[in-house]
Assembly symmetry: C2
Homo-oligomer: 361 residues x 2
């Protein structure tokens, strides 16, 4: 098992990354000296696959365990679901020393974290992410949230977990589409921060897609490391941390106008990444060769790089509502080369429109 | 105008306390260099009294201003109201640099603060408290929340404002019942921290109840000072800060089982204070003379010190659900003498029952 410390002063925590380590979760919790009650928040599917193993491990370590299940999918990351979870937290008699464990992907992690951050003004939070995306992204950075009809993650907080347990073995049960979409965020960390890590994906496509333990543990760990480095510099996302949103500006807009129904998050981000690459190139910042490398790797990993049917005006309108907009200015994260990133504001709308046209499949 | 700095590192902020200072609010906001959009959250009554003056002041300072009004009363401090306010924040096109201004009492401050703490994971928050209680209590300490049917403030966060503006002139329009209930929390600060400040209320009852500016500015300022001292030592309420909950353990239970309908918050706290005083006395910690001084001052300020009709079992059941309970242990804040406080756990239930019987009017 590999371990990574996310250094945030008194809010520091460990990420444990390994293969087949779910049975140790109870012991990990015990080391943290938490209160005696644990509420596991998960969904039907993940519960059926891993719920019993995790529940038993935590019970064996002496905790009282309750389980709350939410529906599967982004649409359940809502205030309505949050309300049900608050009720279940009350039902479970959670108190301030209790712990909420998120067992699942990004949706479960985000909403469970939001509940943990707001229930009794904050209880302990532990993440057991079960998708690639949540292992490398949602579990580092302390961003928790629910969606609003007008915008993804519009209601949320910054709230750090006490521990993250990333077991790459569980990725085997992912649907291929989910796996590929999740890898976008891993590869993204190479794009913005570490050209060598980007190359690792160009060179090890097969091992990664076949989930070879060593390759996956390395990919998850290095990805968390990069994200942790960035987050440690900017916990509350006032500056540098925004670079993690590479591909997310247009990605979020695509998700929003399709009501989070058409795309898996990573797919929308993949299109958003190519959009950002093309924007950077049109602005004369990024070589065409680096646009092509990004396009190729996205295609190699079976990700969408174009869209159909959507209206440019709807996309632009949605962009203006994005929570990354500050005082009316839309900001884009753009590459200067693979591994080097800048933030640009005030891009001409006609260039954005041009790029959207090029992405239309 | 008096000014007080609440020292919380990078989350430090000022409290401005004065008489007839609402017209300056726009200038105060300008000094903070916030984004251009402001959403004022208030209620119908406060809006009709002070809304125009505050709105105009903020507009005159160059901000774009929207107003959202909530219903009057604790029952509107709910997730339902929060949902409406999120919608209005979206409607007002707030972004991360925007500011939410709470114009009103504790209910408005708590829910507006909760929205500010969670909208886009946190926007700027400014408080203009318009009741005694909110001027001395809700506005210092960063506790924001909404209620859950099973418990007051069960859903919330710790979130510091950028500024608090306490204008004691607005207290003139309070109903007498609200004024008196609010004074409980002011006097409470004397009880737990400063015997001399407690004596100030024994000696200046008339000036306080008649809202003489000097007396009120002193009372509000000293009270905020005491609370700020305590909060600075314990921002997230892990230890010493709990002493501010003097009278609140049983107070909250009384509010909860009467569904926040029967008591104004301070009234429930008044009964809770006498309960705590009697408990301390029965445990041999506090002289009867100090119980009597507390009872007398509560009576002098026209506050309830007994209750009728309520069931002891309901009260005890509600106590066990209080969010101040940790791992099943109910904690009480008790005085050793006026100005000196301790926290006790595991009080025998029969002593709590005895005190409840004595308080039955």
């Amino acid at each position: 098992m590999e371990q990574l410390r996310v250094d945030l002063g008194e809010r520091s925590y460990d990420i444990k990354i390994g293969y087949d380590i779910l049975a140790n979760v109870g012991e990990y919790l015990k080391e943290l000296k938490l209160g005696s009650k644990v509420l596991i928040i998960t969904n039907e599917l993940v519960d059926s696959l891993y719920g019993r193993e995790v529940e038993q491990a935590i019970k064996d370590a002496g905790f009282g365990v309750s389980i709350a299940k939410i529906g599967d999918g982004e649409k359940y990351k809502s205030l309505d679901t949050a309300r049900e979870l608050y009720d279940q937290a009350v039902e479970a008699n959670l108190d301030r020393s209790s712990t909420i464990v998120a067992l699942g992907g990004g949706v479960v992690g985000d909403i469970a974290g939001f509940i943990a951050s707001t229930y009794m003004r904050g209880v302990n939070f532990v993440q057991i992410p079960t998708t690639v995306l949540s292992q490398v992204d949602s579990s580092v950075g302390g961003k928790v949230a629910v969606n609003h009809p007008q915008g993804k993650n519009l209601i949320g907080a910054f709230y750090q977990p006490k521990l993250v347990v990333a077991d790459v073995k569980v990725l085997k049960t992912l649907e291929e589409r989910q796996l590929k979409a999740g890898l976008v965020e891993v590869i993204k960390h190479g794009m913005i921060w570490d050209e060598e890590f980007f190359r690792f994906f160009e060179d090890n496509r097969e091992d990664i897609l076949n989930l070879k333990p060593e390759a996956m543990i390395y990919a998850v760990k290095r990805s968390c490391e990069i994200k942790a480095e960035v987050v440690a510099q900017d916990e509350r996302e006032m500056g540098v941390r925004a670079i993690l949103n590479y591909g997310h500006t247009i990605g979020h807009a695509l998700e929003a106008i399709t009501h989070y129904q058409r795309y898996v998050h990573g797919e929308a981000v993949a299109i958003g990444i190519l959009a950002a690459a093309k924007l950077a190139n049109k602005l004369g910042m990024l070589d065409l060769a680096d646009v092509t490398r990004q396009e190729n790797i996205l295609k190699d990993f079976g990700l969408p790089v174009s869209f159909t049917e959507l209206d440019n005006d709807d996309i632009l309108k949605s962009l203006a509502k994005d929570k990354k907009v500050q005082d009316g200015v839309i900001r884009f994260v753009l590459l200067e080369e693979i591994g080097r990133v800048v933030i640009k504001s005030d891009l001409p709308h006609n260039i954005i429109r041009e790029v959207l046209e090029e992405l239309r499949g």
